[in-house]
Each structure stands twice: as C-alpha cells, then as structure tokens.
Symmetry: C2
Subunit: 427 residues, 2 copies
C-alpha cells in the first residue's frame, strides 16, 4: 500500500490530537483511502511530551526548521502565531511540500503572500482547522457550494464567547461571572482578549470571506466589537422583542460592496442559529442556488481540531489539492469593503431616561429628524442609575445616522447614561 509521509511541527494541544488520531485511526483511514498516512517526524521543543504520545525518538526533532531538512510529502504547521509559523510555512513551500495549517491569524493577515507562494511552487496549502474546529465548513464552502454565488455568511465561530453569552442568557449572570466560569472550565484563557474582544472570530470570518468573495480579506477589513458591554438586562430585553444575543461574524454582499463584521448581534430566537449554545459553533452559509445551509459542531478542542487537520491530509492523499479560488490571483479591481458608518441594519437601542412624561416624545423626535423609523418600543419600570430603560428597535437604517441621532439624544438632560446600541440581523 502506498503511503503519504507527514511531518508535524508543533505538538501542543492540536498537534498532540493529530498524532493521536493518526495512530488510533491509522487502519480505518488506510482502509478507506487505500493509502497509509505515516508520521515521519514530529517537531517540538518538549521531546519528552512527544515521546509519551508513542512517537519513537528517531522521529522527534526539537526544532521546526531542523525538522524541515527531513524528507516528507506534507508539512503540518501547528505552532500558531504569525512569526515563526510563517517562516516555517514559507520554507516548507519553498522545498515543494504541501502544507496543512490551523493558523487563522496567520492566514487572515498573510494569506495573500502564503497562497501566492504556494501557487507559484505548485503546492497545496490547506486550512480546514482554521475555522469551526471539527466542522468541515471550509470544505463545504470551497467545494460543496462551489457552484453558488455566496450571498451571506453568518457564523457563531468563537466557542468561548458563545459559552459566555449562553451562560448569561440561561442563568441571568453578568459577563464577568460567565467569563470566570469559562476560565474555570478551561473554555477561556487567562487572557481572554482574542476571544471576548472578537478578534479570533474576525480572523475566521476573514478566511471565510476570502474563500467566498474573490478578494483577500484581512483582519483589518473586519469591523470588530466584543461582548464585554453586554448586560443580562439587554439579553432579557432582547428576548422580549423575540431575539437572542450572539457574537456573530457576518460577511455579505450589499450594493456590490462587501460588509465584514463581528459584533454582538440580536438574531431571531426561533432561528436554528439561536439554538447553537455553549461552546458549539455553527455557520450559516447562503448561496444563490442552495439557499440557506448550516454547519454545526465543536469549534475547538484537541480532538475536533485534529479531525479537521487530518481531513486536509487525507484530501492531499486522495489527490484533492485545491486550496483557494483561482480568481484571488487575478490582478483586477476587487470588491470594495464597506465602511462601518455605511452599514445598513436594524438596531436595538436602550436609552436610560428619567421617568417623566415627554421623554419618549423627545427621543422619537430626534430619531424622526434623522429619518430613523421605529419598529417596536418598550418602556420598563426597572430602576437603572435612577432612571428607567426605554428600549426601541428600528427599521433598517444607516449606522452613521443612528450614531448621530444617539449623540444628540445622549445630550438631552432627560438621558442619564450613554445609550446602548446593538445591531440586529434578520435571518
């Protein structure tokens, strides 16, 4: 039986999972594809850790660059980060090896350089594990829906943030309490910035957008807002309007411009995406022929991520070397990225106002002056900082107008604290 020779660089959580999978399911995979997948080296500073996984000493290298001097067909980069990982990948490509990576941050920021180099050298650069953990969403988008014009992607693609929002929703606890719980359970890191500020999701939606819209989309093209200022009160009020609050990554074509954004979003509570809870991820992809499709599963963790990495290796083994659309390499005018001020969306607005007659009239007047049309309004007799919440949802409006109206409203003497704003996405 033929074999594909694989070298793994970086043996942390994901790397360890890949080693375990390739050992445990070695026979199953060989039976399926008619080819063995052999680990020819594993590179990691911690040689002992690798040995414990059952890799013989002669296959362990304590340095990634040294490892690259050895022969193999596929290099799997699982170091993470955007410095050494980038050098490793470029060097592997230079040597004519196919490459598999899970590195979303690297792809989001240096994808263009890396994929151009891979194409120039005629090698494949695969990245299923970069988005959605074990869910084969890259494959679905790149191949399964390849006949479609992609119209919109809406993804819950950060498990940590989704866990925190789910806990806040189900138990009515604050962001800080939910974060602490996530940290205790190992769902959030000691420094949770990347997850709760939305940057991890931004890397991922950049990768998905690049695959879908024939344009290199980088992190800097993504509007990002995290979930830190979400309160149990807004989650509860959203529910009264029929919405759930999720950290949604959205990428869509609007007026022939591309809108790419990650932010807390209110979505209809009866939609299947609203039922994606805890650390689970899901991605809704809309194509012009297929309509709505959704992909759901564990978005992180040793074993699910290993499943995705190995699917890339298997792809290479079966001769499926397609990695990104060809149109990305054409020198022609690319889609414009829409500026955040120009986003058109429905909005949820929570004003904190003194409990006096005429307040609603004053707020409504200013909104009307800016041409903003109110869809639903609700006033609750809950005390917040000596005021009451006045809550509204709007019909679709331009974000710049909303911000200007709110600036003006917040200057009213009946308004006690800055207005809370959240975009709504209808599904």
């Amino acid at each position: 039986m033929d074999s594909l020779k694989v070298g793994i660089i970086g043996c942390g959580t994901v790397g360890g999972g890949v080693v375990k999978l390739l050992i445990e399911n070695r026979e199953v995979i060989a039976e399926r594809i008619g080819k063995r997948i052999d680990i020819v080296f594993v590179a990691d500073k911690d040689v002992e850790k690798v040995k414990k996984l059952g890799i013989p000493e002669e296959k362990i290298v304590d340095n990634g660059f040294k490892a690259l001097e050895r022969k193999c067909d596929v290099v799997v980069e699982l170091i993470g980060g955007t410095t050494i990982a980038k050098e490793i990948i470029l060097s592997a490509i230079e040597k004519g090896r196919d490459v598999v990576t899970a590195n979303k941050a690297l792809l989001a920021d240096y994808g263009e350089e890396l994929f151009k180099k891979a194409r120039e050298k005629g090698v494949s650069l695969k990245f299923e594990a970069s988005v959605g953990g074990g869910i084969p969403v890259i494959k679905a988008l790149r191949e399964g829906l390849a006949g479609n014009k992609i119209e919109r992607i809406c993804g819950i693609i950060n498990g940590t943030a989704n866990y925190i929002l789910t806990e806040m929703t189900e138990k009515g606890i604050t962001f800080e309490e939910a974060l602490r719980k996530a940290q205790e359970l190992g769902y959030a890191e000691a420094d949770p910035t990347l997850d709760v500020e939305g940057y991890d999701a931004a890397h991922k939606i950049a990768v998905l957008s690049t695959l879908s819209f024939c344009r290199w989309v980088k992190t800097e093209n993504v509007y990002v807002r995290g979930i830190k200022d979400i309160t149990p009160l807004d989650i509860e009020l959203a529910r009264e309007f029929g919405y759930k609050v999720k950290l949604l990554a959205i990428s869509k074509l609007v007026d022939e411009e591309l809108e790419v954004r990650v932010h807390p979003t209110m979505i209809p509570e009866n939609h299947i995406l609203s039922n994606v809870n805890g650390v689970f991820n899901a991605c809704l992809i809309e194509g012009d022929f297929v309509g709505d499709t959704l992909y759901y599963g564990k978005g992180a963790g040793e074993k699910p991520t290993a499943s995705a990495v190995v699917s890339d290796i298997i792809d290479i083994a079966i001769g499926n070397r397609y990695s990104v659309p060809e149109c990305l390499f054409k020198d022609e005018e690319k889609l414009k990225i829409k500026a955040p001020e120009e986003f058109i969306s429905s909005f949820y607005l929570r004003f904190t106002a003194v409990d006096k007659p005429g307040v609603l009239a004053k707020i409504s007047k200013i909104l009307a002056d800016y041409g903003i049309s109110i869809k639903m309004a609700l006033q609750k007799s809950i005390d917040i900082n000596g005021g009451v919440p006045v809550v509204m949802t709007t019909h679709p409006a331009c974000k710049s107008k909303i911000l200007k109206a709110i600036e003006e409203i917040d200057r009213l003497d009946v308004i006690l604290s800055p207005t809370f704003v959240c975009m709504i996405e209808e599904l």
Copy 2:
C-alpha cells in the same frame, strides 16, 4: 482556459436546475476553479423544454443512449428510476466517462455493481445530490470527517415527511390534513408512498451507511416504518415527556453490528435536530474524534439539488475523483446487520385502557415480567374510543421483549385498542 465537457441526461426538475446553474454561474465557477464547465449535450425526450432553457438545438438529443455516442468528460444522469438510469450509467462508465448522479434508489440497490464497474474502468462516480439535496453531506462524511470512525448518523432526510410532522406538531392537525396541505403546496406527490412510508429516507440512509461503515448497505438492510399512524395525540403526549416526533433515519454501530432504520422517532425537544422544521433536512453525524456535527439545509427542490450536482462536476474538474471508500471492494467479512427484533431502545408506549382502578398495575406487572423498566408514566383523562390513554416511556429494552409484552397486554380485557409504540432516540 481549459474546459470540462459535461453531458446531461434527463432534463426534468433537477436537470433543468443544473442547466440553469451552469449557464447563470458560468463565470463565477470558471473564475473560482480556473476551468470552464461546458454543457456539450442535454438529452431529453422533450426537446422544446430544453431549448427554452437556452441550450442550442445542436446540443439537444432526444434519447439518452444516442447522446452517449457524443464525446464528453462527464455524464450527469438525472433520469431517475432504476432501469434505464442504470443502463445509462453502466454504458457511460464503459465508455470511460466520469459519472454524476442524484439517484439514491439506484445507488441503494445497485451501488455495489455500479461502483465496482467504475473502479474497474478507473472512472469516478459521484452522488452528492442523492442525499440531503443541496447540503454537502456526502462530501462532509466522505472527506471532511474521513479521519474519524463514524459512530452514529441521525438524519431528517425526507422533507415531505418532515413538513407533514411539523404541520401536525405546530397546528395539531391530523396526518391526512397535513398530507393534503403538502400536496397542495407541491411538497408531496400525488402518490406520496415513497416519502410517507419511509422508503426515500431508507434509500438515503443506505447510501450514507455504505460510505461510513465499509459495507454495502442496501434498502433491504434498512428497517422501515412510515409516519401514517402518527396522531396529534401522540405528538402532544410526546411533548409532555420532552420529545418531538420526527421521521428519523438512524445508522449506528451497536455491539459491532450495524443498526440501520427509518421510523417515527421521539427525540429530545431541546436538541438542535428538533428545531429542523418544514421541508428542511438535517443530518447529525457523530465521529470518534470530531464528536457531534450537524449539516442543515434544503433537502430537495430544483435549485438546491442542482447545487449538489454541480459540486460533483466541480470536484471532477479540480481533480477530486474519490467517490467511495476503498475498503468496500475488499473481500472480507462484513459487518452484520442487526435484526429489528434485537434493537435496543427506549420506547414510548400508549395503551388505551378502560378507566378503572388496577389497570396500571396489570400493565406494569406484564412489563416487569419481561424485565422492562418504566422511566416515566402518565395517565390522561381524555376519552379515546371509550377508554383513556395510559402512556409510558421505558428505559432501554430489547424490541422483541417490548413486542411480546405488548402482545400480552393487548389481550387484557381492560385494553380497548392496539397499543401504539414508538422508539425514542436520545441525542
């Protein structure tokens, strides 16, 4: 730019959709994959219909076999049925063409012969559109999860049956009323047998099982029961126990035997699969490394199905010619198919009993004699044929014991009509 020459045989709903897609999205696809997909012929008896789709007359053939004499790279079989379609595919393979089909009935019953022939001739036989309409579930299972041992598949893979059960659940109407509505809306055919009796879902789960368990699984290996005897009462009682009723196709390894079945199933109402409503399909696939994954979308219709057919054509264009696992072709002992009597499951039992003291004791006594343990019980004061419903769910028990116990219970003079039985699947 290179081109892939495609001939389409059968231009009904799906065939027409494929023609439309390949015309409408011609540029998008070419830009993505760097190759044009050219329709070189379309075969259909109704030449005028094909002409209206914009296919020039010289490319239209009124007979599939005649069409096969023309040159092409890929033959797309969209005639349906298991007679002429089979001959067409065999003949195309014989001529060395790659083949794409959406024909689940054919694959379920003659897959072994067709795939063996394709392998012998070194051609690819692809079938994404055979299960789940536009959802790329075949690709996910065959490639995206290829590193996993598959443990269980649970699919809502018949949109008609799901529409009917959703209507019954949401509106409390009977099966007959819901079926009539489905027929009026074009979701059910005049003769709805294949859909409501479960055979369409059986074909599909046979295909998914063949891909997953290294064994040719045919329709005859699938235990099938339709949804005709489901009543609004059982849907309502199931809800009180926390379940929804779905026509579920299940395939799983139990004690190293394969259990493949399609039947009305009660599933936990808070599971994401329970939120798959109307004509939507979804497939839950569990792998040993990836855990639970779910794929959701439109399971039928011209455009979604065309999306799947075209994804197969694109696969061939990009050099991904893998169609079924290699292990299927090995002559070795295959997994045994578990007999329906041996299924171990939790059960929902609804007895119709006279409203007298001691009834529950009599029923419970017989169940206990067969070693069946009751999990929950409920007696309702609703009149059915002069009796009342006594409802129970059991802990996992062997189906043969359940059937024997019920036979005995149904002979009791306090029991007024045959007991209704439904399997429960925990997710």
